[in-house]
Assembly symmetry: C2
């Protein structure tokens, strides 16, 4: 008859599941308009329990961002591996560009950026950690892939880090700006290949 292996109170959310629920609340309302009452209610725990696990609202926010950044740390790894393996440099770069756009324009990623950017002034260490984990790490991964392609004679790269930044901003700069401001970017399906053409004009092997 028992549908649960243990009797008594059904447990609410703790640990990573609590952080995921808190993240959803922060993304819905923003930092200031998020209430600890709503986080506790949606996690089905008391506020006392919430405060025992996270000593303050700002500490909960820092934990949410840190958990999020860690989970997305190597999000581009599969796409970078495909780039390194592709014998057609232009095709590989175009597919990477498309993958980057899909990843960075997804609603949850855009909203997380809004949240972190807005709180950068009051909680700079959180924004700094986010930048380091979610951004510098992916730039570094791309730089590594580009350098490998250079050594195999497929690209002509003098400064891999700078080239990785160039590629990233050519691809995502405009669409990300529009998305952050809440505007649906026009489809423009040729955008990735345009960006790749510009990149290869400077870094391609001629």
């Amino acid at each position: 008859m028992a549908t649960s292996p243990s009797r008594g109170r059904p447990p609410g959310l703790t640990g990573p599941a609590l952080l995921a629920e808190a993240r959803a609340v922060f993304l819905e309302h923003g930092y200031t308009s998020t209430t600890m009452d709503e986080v506790a209610a949606r996690a089905r725990i008391s506020k006392s329990s919430l405060y025992r696990e996270h000593r303050s609202k700002s500490a909960l926010y820092a934990a949410v961002v840190s958990d999020w950044a860690a989970s997305g740390r190597d999000a581009m790894r599969p796409a970078l591996d495909r780039l390194s393996d592709d014998s057609d440099v232009e095709r590989g770069l175009t597919q990477l560009a498309e993958a980057m756009l899909r990843a960075m324009l997804s609603p949850v990623v855009v909203e997380m950026r809004r949240l972190v950017v807005n709180e950068a002034k009051s909680q700079p260490q959180v924004a700094g950690a986010y930048l380091k984990e979610s951004w510098d790490r992916n730039i570094a991964g791309l730089a590594e892939a580009l350098e490998g392609m250079h050594h195999r004679g497929r690209l002509s790269i003098d400064d891999a880090r700078a080239a990785a930044e160039d590629f990233t901003w050519l691809v995502v700069g405009g669409p990300l700006n529009s998305a952050l401001l809440g505007v649906q970017p026009n489809p423009a399906p040729d955008r990735p290949s345009r960006s790749v053409a510009l990149f290869l004009a400077r870094y391609g092997v001629h």
Copy 2:
């Protein structure tokens, strides 16, 4: 004996001066943490007067952003004219890049972007108007300048709008991202000239 030409109550701020003061308050605290009491106090007017001029907090915010976007509408005009007049294309583009960085990384511009981006979800029409006035307009101005240089045989541009976006994001993408996240971008004084070199590899006359 009168130190003022008119007697009676010293006037508080109204109109554009009120919007400038309100803007400062919004930039200090963010939208949610800004109180109408503080705006009224700093403008030396009563809350009643404030609500008579702006019917709600969100209406005041919309007026602040609209006023700001209009005032910065043609901020890049002098720099664009210098670009068109410069006989040395590489030097002209590099100086434009430096001017764009100075303009977009100034603290007040960065903080205004943070504010508008954060409220894009709840007040999308404000963010949309900001994007149109502050961004599309400057991109269009740059596109026009690039097209003129193309017609004078100094550049080889197929799509002026796309080229203007490419240039903009190559130059400001990384530094703006760091600034929004509250990180001091490393000086990198060669960044503008690097971006120009990449741009000219594709759009220069060879």
